[in-house]
Assembly symmetry: C2
Homo-oligomer: 262 residues x 2
């Protein structure tokens, strides 16, 4: 990293130390806070010249990590006031009072659970509960230090607790497909789909009828669902037809992310 | 912020959104984790074009904040293995398993307590418990969200709890000077000195005799102490003779940081 100073103004040239390979192929549907979808898996793959086993091997005594990353799909976009989806999407808050990606410097902060440290063939960390888009550039990895980071008396009036979970129904062909995926690759896709949809990805102010279909990309699948009687019903789970190159960048490669021992 | 992509390589040009004015005039003596010196005070002063009251006013429902900042005094310096002072300074750990400032991108992360939101004459946040050097450039401010950030089951084998506190003696002229400062400016300097020294700023492997004097700059004072019978004794607290210009940058100005109502 280089920094320059011009009068009182600094500018930092930062380089990603790692890239995320994750189950989340697009923004829509990603849990709004980490650890809400514990069944999710991501690989934090270190990039040269930082891809040295010695930089991460001592993380083995840590249960959780901080990932500081770049919201790369909204780079350069920010607004002084934003509409957090948690507040229904129609109340505005000052950007620094939210975790919105549309913020100056577009820096994100997520606590994730450390599952495995790999040093071969890639230097990478397998983590659970990550709310990270596939392809996310990572700026830093830090150990979670309970006595400094877990503040039992902290209060936040706008996000007092995790949002209530919706009921999610998945059956028929979609359930079969998700079960087969789990059997093949080690990820429990049934559980992941439920965790992702329980939090209701759609904006809270929308009140769609059963004819309206929502979709996102999850683990290389096109996942579709609708809303019936205040519950969520999965209507389709179909393998995406993607080229090798786009898969390389936008979807986790099986050997890198999916073959994780739970 | 701008980002460019060259093949798989990203580079980010980031701008500080704020500058820290704090009691800590130099690195030596700063608590190794935030909130260990609750008596400390800092002002997070927003910089143009981010110095809009509306960006921070909604933080009033939050007890704690995350400050993401730049370790500007060690910019560009990093090492794959570092020697954390907590481990005595003679055991090396991989950099991503530590909170060392000597890390790629030199990004720091601190939880601080929100004390006051000010919008006039400057747009700034007064915070307590900050382990931030005066002049630190801030990259982001985020609300602390208890259900996502406070992980009661998290474990870290290298930093299980805060280090044990040393006994600190302050009396005579130093005590009088510290008391007068408190009376004048609203900071409890006696308590701050005790909190800073209780954590023993010196490297753990050093075993100095009583003739060895240590010093740091705190709240515009030169603070000196020594070690006697495993306790710490303050030997001097003297006002630094600093020019207006250096005070502007390296020390908190009274009107900006010190006149805080506790």
């Amino acid at each position: 990293m280089q920094s320059t100073r011009d009068g009182d103004s600094y500018s930092f040239d930062m380089n990603p130390i790692a890239t995320v390979r994750s189950c989340f192929g697009e923004k829509f549907g990603i849990p709004r806070q980490p650890l809400l979808a514990d069944a999710s898996r991501a690989a934090i793959q270190l990039l040269p010249p930082f891809d040295l086993a010695e930089t991460i091997i001592d993380l083995q005594g840590n249960s959780h990590l901080w990932i500081i990353f770049h919201f790369h799909q909204v780079a350069g976009q920010w607004s002084p006031k934003v509409r957090p989806p948690r507040l229904g999407g129609n109340k505005k808050l000052g950007v620094f009072a939210t975790r919105s990606p549309f913020r100056p410097n577009n820096i994100g902060l997520s606590a994730v659970r450390l599952i495995e440290i790999r040093t071969h063939p890639k230097v990478e960390l397998i983590v659970g509960g990550a709310d990270l888009l596939d392809g996310t550039p990572v700026l830093d990895i830090k150990p979670y230090i309970p006595y400094a980071d877990a503040l039992p008396t902290a209060a936040n009036q706008f996000a007092k607790q995790a949002p209530p979970a919706k009921t999610v129904h998945i059956d028929g062909q979609a359930l079969q497909t998700a079960k087969e995926y789990r059997d093949d690759w080690g990820i429990d896709l049934v559980r992941l789909i439920k965790q992702v949809l329980e939090q209701d990805p759609k904006p809270a102010y929308q009140n769609p009828g059963p004819e309206r279909i929502y979709a996102t990309k999850l683990c290389g699948f096109d996942l579709r669902w609708r809303y019936i009687h205040n519950a969520i019903e999965v209507v389709a789970l179909e393998k995406l037809n993607i080229t090798k190159q786009s898969q390389e960048w936008f979807y986790p490669k099986a050997a890198k992310c999916h073959k994780v021992t739970l």
